[in-house]
């Protein structure tokens, strides 16, 4: 008596179960955070993450009430957006550094979420220095 191998059934059920869990999760938890460039911020509502280059002058203290103030522009771009930030500033933070911050645009100023700054680790694969 030859029984049909249950292996195929198990695999099919597992795939279905995984997809179900997955869809359920994304439906409940919602999608992630969009990452955009500072130049794409105009009139954008809601929480986003922006990636760009820090532009000076840098004023204020990230732990004081007023927060740290600086500007960010697209990597390779020109137009800069003012940013106010509270919390841990990455170790490599300085004008010219690539960073990512999460927050919202409010009255033309990007208000960052606390501690959301990511400065990128030292680049191993920089192109030739100009």
């Amino acid at each position: 008596m030859r029984k049909r191998s249950p292996a195929r059934l198990i695999v099919a059920l597992s795939v279905a179960a995984t997809l179900a869990i997955f869809l359920l999760y994304t439906a409940i938890a919602g999608s992630g955070t969009a990452t955009i460039k500072p130049s794409q911020l105009t009139n954008r509502a809601g929480k986003v993450q922006i990636v760009g280059t820090v532009v000076g002058p840098v004023t204020g203290n990230e732990y004081a009430a007023g927060g740290k103030r600086f500007r960010m522009r697209d990597i390779g771009g020109v137009k800069a957006v003012p940013v106010v930030y509270h919390g841990d500033v990455g170790a490599l933070f300085k004008p010219g550094q690539h960073i990512l911050v999460t927050g919202r645009l409010s009255h033309g100023v990007f208000v960052a979420e606390r501690d959301s700054m990511l400065t990128k680790c030292p680049s191993k694969y920089l192109p030739k220095k100009s």
Partner: protein, 668 residues
């Protein structure tokens, strides 16, 4: 000397291409001398690559800044240690390291298997040659380490964050892992191309896969420890794409290591094993593509470079060709036996594989999601930590439990009565631990509770295995318990070495659960701390004593905020977190203070956030229970892998006899 380096790389490329083309012709037309010639070409390619490597290394050690690579990654004041590791500190050098490791693996794997896997080797050589040709081509045409420039007075130096011992060991370990996965892949292709789809290719590559998997695991643990100790944000894994790039092939390789056991014992899951090894190899190349191309925003910034499209093209080629080969040889990959019961060891291996692959693919989806949304919507959407944490629990916790159940289930078909008998002790242990956790107040987190209970289950089942096995051995051979134990492990290295590795994974799980779910965090609010201020966290008392300023410590300046630590009334010494500022590189690094308790495995991490003008500080204090189990797990992992890898004379003899028998009648 750059001409010598460039010439060596061109020679290497030529040899790799020859190995590929000549090897393929020789395999197809069954020409012996040409096949040996192709094998020699691989070995010669290793020699040529070694010459190129020697040229680069010499230039580094001699501070020859006419080499653009040397100038970009070192400086005169850089300690020798780091000048050496600058070899793999940049794109071009790390590609050369990859090529060297690849050719070394290739030469050794081919040499050691040239008799036992004779029929398969003929096609393994051109496969390895093809992969090596790709990397050699990159080095010759796209990213050469031998660019020259008018020599500046001094180099740019190595970024201070990379100046620690981890830079010397973490990348080479990872490479030994990543690159090592090429070997089973090449043998799998060899098996498909030669039509010899029996166990030979698995038996030949078993140790190589295991070694690569071990290195990849250790490399990741080293990276996690590096992140924890040096980067100073209090964590060890951020689900960063570059971290995931190493985790995904490791998970696929873990699944593969398990499912090959089923193929060896039952002749089943042949197609599945082929697909798994292709997946593991493609993920390792994909991983290095992610890391190098700068295509994904991650905390590891790798700016857009031209190398991305090359890797992408190579991955597409490899995937297409290998899947076509599998499809072509499908008739030869028919299973000899079928799965008889959903409650059998074969079935638990299948479940283990499904869970591992599911986890691997969810991580892959999370990593590529930004790329896909960018392509479709024009802006990239990143998935956050909660996504990964969720799926790690959904797939990881059942996997943990399975580690304890699998070894106790019989092959083919396990009856419920047998299961009840073997599982009741581990189940009781799990329940007991679970109740204890709830009583101790840890019941607030269900994942944590489950993780600990399941860990108790697995550890109990492992201990039982050793105990029962020793008793059985003693019943047969007599003598004392210790000799019986040693004999048991020696005779069943794969099984008991595997149990030790499972124990390591359990320690890892306990450490991860404790340090994440049960950690305590304090963060200074709006009012900074002044000398004399006290902070209480998790039963510890921190008193801020003073701020120390050291403006000239070699190549950097330091600020340290010193705290006296007490538990109740007893003093636990001091902790002085701070920041360093490096003059030449104009960069700050955060120096987190870690106080470890080896008795409880707990860590107290203090991070200096900010310092105000009048010397008041903002700090973050993390108390992480059981985190040191993670690092202990690394050592146990190595021990287990060494046991499993240890050569077994008896087994070697049997294999030699098996393959020798068949070969005895053949011509040379």
């Amino acid at each position: 000397m750059t001409e010598l380096g460039r010439a060596a790389l061109v020679v290497c490329l030529g040899l790799c291409v020859y190995a590929t083309v000549a090897g393929a012709i020789a395999a197809h037309e069954r020409r012996r001398r040409l096949a040996v010639s192709a094998q020699n070409a691989l070995i010669a390619a290793l020699g040529a690559a070694a010459v190129a490597g020697a040229v680069l290394l010499t230039a580094l050690l001699r501070h020859d800044f006419s080499f653009t690579y040397v100038a970009d990654h070192t400086s005169r004041k850089l300690p020798g240690f780091y000048t050496f590791s600058a070899f793999w500190g940049g794109q071009e050098g790390s590609l050369l390291l990859w090529l060297l490791v690849l050719l070394a693996y290739a030469a050794l794997a081919v040499y050691f298997n040239r008799i036992a896997a004779r029929e398969v080797i003929a096609w393994v050589v051109p496969t390895l040659g093809l992969v090596a040709s790709f990397f050699a081509l990159l080095l010759v045409a796209v990213a050469s380490p031998f660019e020259t420039q008018p020599a500046p007075a001094d180099g740019l130096g190595l970024n201070p964050s990379l100046q620690n011992p981890y830079m010397v060991i973490h990348p080479p370990m990872l490479y030994l892992g990543y690159v090592g996965l090429t070997v089973p892949f090449a043998f799998a292709m060899g098996a498909l191309l030669s039509g010899r789809t029996d166990e030979r290719w698995i038996v030949a590559t078993r140790r190589w896969t295991l070694a690569a998997w071990t290195f990849l695991g250790i490399g990741q643990l080293l990276g996690a420890h590096w992140a924890y100790v040096e980067v100073g944000w209090g964590g060890y894994y951020a689900w960063d794409p570059v971290e995931n790039a190493a985790l995904m092939p490791w998970l696929a390789a873990t699944a593969f290591l398990h499912s090959v056991m089923v193929q060896e014992k039952k002749g089943m899951m042949k197609v599945w094993n082929m697909l798994l090894v292709i997946l593991a190899f493609c993920l390792s190349i994909f991983g290095t593509f992610l890391t190098r191309s700068g295509i994904i925003n991650s905390i590891h910034s790798f700016t857009q470079s031209s190398i991305g499209p090359w890797f992408l093209g190579f991955i597409c080629l490899v995937t297409a060709v290998s899947l076509a080969l599998v499809f072509w040889r499908l008739p030869l990959l028919r299973a000899k036996t079928k799965l008889e019961s959903v409650v059998s060891r074969e079935a638990t291996f299948l479940y283990n594989n499904l869970l591992l692959v599911a986890l691997c693919l969810t991580i892959l989806w999370g990593v590529t999601y930004p790329l896909l949304t960018d392509a479709i919507r024009g802006e990239s959407v990143t998935v956050g930590r909660p996504y990964y944490d969720f799926f790690l629990r959904v797939f990881g916790l059942p996997l943990l439990l399975l580690m304890g159940i699998g070894p106790l289930v019989a092959w083919r078909r396990a009856s419920w009565s047998s299961l009840k008998r073997t599982l009741w002790i581990p189940s009781a242990a799990a329940l007991a631990v679970g109740l204890l956790i709830i009583l101790l107040g840890g019941g607030s987190s269900l994942p944590g509770l489950l993780a600990y209970s399941f860990s108790a289950f697995v550890l109990a089942s492992i201990v039982l295995e050793f105990v029962r096995g020793t008793a059985a051995r003693r019943a047969v051979a007599g003598g004392g318990y210790l000799p019986a134990f040693a004999d048991l492990v020696a005779r069943n290295r794969r099984r008991y070495g595997g149990y030790v590795v499972h124990a390591a994974i359990v320690f890892l799980a306990i450490g991860i659960a404790g340090s994440s779910v049960y950690q305590s965090i304090y963060e200074t609010g709006t009012r900074p701390l002044r000398p004399g201020d006290t902070v209480k966290v998790a039963g510890y008392t921190y008193v801020f004593r003073q701020l120390i300023n050291r403006p000239n410590v070699g190549n950097h300046s330091e600020i340290r905020a010193c705290f006296d630590v007490f538990r109740g009334s007893s003093s636990l010494g001091e902790q002085c977190p701070g920041k360093n500022f490096y003059f030449r590189e104009q960069q700050t690094s955060s120096e987190m203070s870690i106080a470890s308790s080896w008795l409880t495995g707990e860590d107290r991490d203090v991070i200096l956030g900010g310092v105000t003008k009048n010397g008041a500080v903002f700090v973050k204090i993390l108390v992480k229970p059981l985190i040191n189990l993670i690092w202990l797990a690394g050592f146990v992992f190595v021990v287990g892998c060494v046991i499993t890898l240890w050569p077994d004379a008896r087994e070697e003899r049997r294999l030699a006899e098996r393959y020798g028998e068949a070969g005895a009648l053949a011509q040379a």
